[in-house]
């Protein structure tokens, strides 16, 4: 299937279905795509903050909601101004939008929007999603978490977002109700062929084969059981000490965890193993969801039967608990954390919503460079003065009268006449 010219492709994930790979491919090949009339608006691989702001109405602690929301609107304006043959927006965070926010997104993107949902068997992504949660403060061990999640497909109490993301049938029906079944495309990637997802996108976007070759670097790999155990134990400490959530996001989620992922997984490490009872239950849920999606009337690229085929289930088992961590794994954690601390020294002032550790890290590193501090002081004092004057002027002006409105109209008229 090829989307009609003039369409906007809105790829809404959900999480762990190849979104990172697709975003990396779209970003790395954006110039090649532009030559073929396809626009991928944005200034980074994944506009996560902007999408969260508009789709969820929130951003991570330490970040500014209004600024990121404005950025998303500006991306839409850029997209509309460029008038490309096709435009693509991709983020797994769209999948969690409530009805009002879905409406807002679809209205802004325009009437020619097609929603693309990428799907993988639930049985294959469940362990991966748990280890992703452990990179965001989860402290619940896998088996306990699994029992809650797979036995409550109507809603998990431990991770409420899990089924909001992964009741794939309900996700498809929600968006199909908003956009129309003829405007929703489900892509089921072939688990045996890593090219199947980019190929499906190449066909949808009407670009040459190979235009969405993903970069070679391994992005966002899953953590091994050894690595995830370290995350889990650290999360418990973080919770007990009561450090800021903003600091967790900055230094652990996007620092330490990234540092661990940056090193290749040790082949001797155990992967996170899912026990047979949970695999069986996940396959049942997958079959139920596949039937519902088939009945929904949306377009399906690929085979829905893969979503519950036992042949694609991971090897069953249970991990042996571990009480130690290898020095290289710990080094990945530590270097990721310290590198993130070093990053903050490059900003001319601490972020207003920074956590206590971030402020201390900034001060400590910045204070070792006195000439930078002198520049910072001068720049900030001057900026503060400008803002004070602007506020005072606004207060003095009050409501603009007839003469000021006339002056503004005259100014515009003169500009238009070139005088």
């Amino acid at each position: 299937m090829r989307l009609p010219d003039g369409s906007v492709a809105l790829h809404i994930g959900p999480h762990k279905t190849g979104t990172t790979t697709m975003q990396a491919a779209l970003w790395a090949n954006r110039h090649l795509l532009a030559e073929q009339g396809v626009d991928y608006p944005g200034v980074r691989r994944h506009e996560m903050d902007a999408t969260m702001a508009v789709a969820l109405g929130k951003v991570d602690p330490g970040k500014k909601l209004a600024a990121h929301r404005d950025h998303w609107y500006s991306l839409v304006e850029q997209m509309q101004a460029r008038e490309a043959r096709l435009s693509v927006f991709s983020s797994e965070f769209y999948c969690e939008a409530d009805a009002a926010r879905r409406r807002e997104v679809l209205e802004r993107l325009g009437p020619h929007t097609y929603v693309i949902v990428t799907l993988r068997p639930i049985v294959r992504l469940i362990a991966s999603q748990w280890q992703q949660y452990t990179q965001n403060q989860l402290t619940i061990p896998y088996l306990e978490w699994l029992r809650d999640v797979v036995n409550n497909p109507e809603g998990s109490s431990l991770s409420p977002s899990f089924w909001r993301r992964h009741r794939h049938d309900l996700l498809v029906r929600r968006w199909a109700a908003d956009v129309g079944t003829d405007r929703l495309v489900v892509v089921v990637a072939d688990e045996r062929d890593h090219r199947s997802l980019p190929e499906a996108f190449e066909e949808l976007l009407g670009v040459a084969p190979g235009s969405l070759e993903a970069p070679k670097e391994r992005l966002n790999r899953s953590l091994t059981f050894d690595e995830v155990t370290l995350m889990l134990e650290f999360n418990k400490r973080h919770r007990d000490v009561g450090w800021d959530q903003a600091d967790y996001n900055r230094f652990i989620r996007f620092g330490a965890a990234r540092g661990v992922q940056a090193r290749p997984a040790n082949p001797l490490d155990q992967p996170v193993l899912t026990p047979q009872w949970a695999i069986d239950r996940a396959l049942e849920i997958g079959e139920m969801m596949a039937a519902d999606i088939a009945a929904s009337g949306v377009t399906v690229v690929g085979s829905l039967a893969q979503l519950y085929d036992p042949a694609f289930a991971p090897p069953a088992g249970e991990n042996t608990p571990i009480g130690t961590v290898r020095p290289d794994v710990l080094a990945g954690f530590a270097s990721g954390l310290i590198n993130r601390m070093d990053d903050v020294r490059n900003t001319p002032s601490p972020r207003p919503a920074a956590g206590a550790v971030e402020r201390a890290a900034w001060a400590r590193r910045r204070s070792s460079e006195p000439e930078l501090i002198a520049d910072d002081l001068q720049r900030l004092e001057s900026r503060l003065q400008q803002l004070r004057e602007a506020l005072a002027q606004r207060a003095a002006e009050g409501q603009p009268g007839r003469s000021r409105v006339l002056m503004e109209l005259t100014r515009r008229l003169r500009r238009r006449l070139g005088r």
Binding site: D328, A334, I338, S368, L380, L387, L409
Partner: protein, 290 residues
């Protein structure tokens, strides 16, 4: 007057505070004096310029350095008694603040004494590792190799802090089995919690009273690993003794700028400036004002 009191050393506490040490302070004859507290503990007092208030400083040493070896139940009892004695000292001390510093280098001069008494840490030297400390060396080398900004003093300090925790936490010649070591670790946590609850300001390495655990097959015990990573964050918070007033001023100015910018944005949203209004709206206003 800002007076610093330093109880005389006993096992685990203020081992630096000796007659010889005080004699190194300039003008010690007129500034330093010795008195005896209510519980009979000798205490040095010194007027210390730069100190915010009347403070008592207690510098604690790592538990494995001073706790006498005995059957584990006796060691647990001894550690808890030691903790109670310290809490009693805090309760009986009539000063504005008691600063308990868990570990780190001993102060070498007045400046370092002031930093410790103010709740800041002293930078720890890079540890020299021996052949038997393979896991630590592997950790340190792998961490340093993965740092993006090499040569940053603050990064080196963070690595050093973590390695010091690992060295304290790994027992190269374990005399206790893991279960016994865990009992002592639980007692150590209890003492630190009691010190925090006593009302004293507690700074420094929170693992200091944790009994070390044996390494298994070259791997690092998980609780020790977590202690080390937590220490990187904690030492960042307490290690800013070198922070100049100018840095604080920058942080304050940045916050002020952000607040002013938000007020202006709110005004603009509520009542956009004329220059931002479309022409049609301007004409409509002109009509309304008539």
């Amino acid at each position: 007057m800002p007076i610093l009191s330093v109880p005389a050393g006993y096992p685990g506490v203020n081992s630096f505070a000796t007659q010889t040490w005080w004699q190194t302070l300039p003008g010690h004859g007129s500034r330093v004096s010795e008195e005896v507290l209510e519980q009979g503990v000798a205490c040095w007092t010194v007027d210390l310029e730069g100190l915010a208030d009347r403070t008592t400083l207690v510098l604690v040493s790592a538990v494995a350095e001073w706790l006498p070896r005995a059957p584990v139940a006796d060691m647990v009892a001894e550690l808890l008694t030691w903790g109670s004695r310290l809490c009693d000292l805090v309760a009986a001390t009539e000063v504005d603040r008691v600063q308990i510093v868990l570990g780190g280098p001993e102060p070498r001069d007045e400046t370092e004494l002031l930093a410790l008494a103010s709740g800041f840490r002293l930078p720890q030297p890079s540890p020299t590792l021996t052949d038997s400390e393979g896991p630590l060396r592997d950790f340190m080398n792998a961490t340093l190799a993965s740092l993006s900004a090499t040569g940053q003093a603050a990064s080196q300090t963070a690595v050093n802090d973590a390695v010091h925790v690992l060295r304290r936490g790994i027992d190269p010649t374990p005399a206790l089995d893991v279960a016994e070591a865990e009992q002592l670790r639980a007692a150590g946590r209890e003492v630190v919690a009691a010190l925090v609850a006593s009302g004293a300001s507690v700074s420094g390495a929170k693992d200091l009273l944790q009994w070390p655990l044996p390494s298994v097959d070259g791997a690092i015990p998980m609780p020790v690993a977590v202690d080390a990573m937590a220490e990187i964050l904690q030492s960042e918070l307490e290690g800013a003794s070198e922070t100049a007033a100018d840095v604080e001023r920058v942080a304050q100015l940045a916050a002020d700028v952000a607040a002013h910018r938000e007020r202006l944005a709110a005004l603009d949203e509520k009542d956009p400036p004329l220059a931002a209004l479309p022409g049609r709206e301007l004409l409509a206003r002109l009509w309304r004002i008539r």
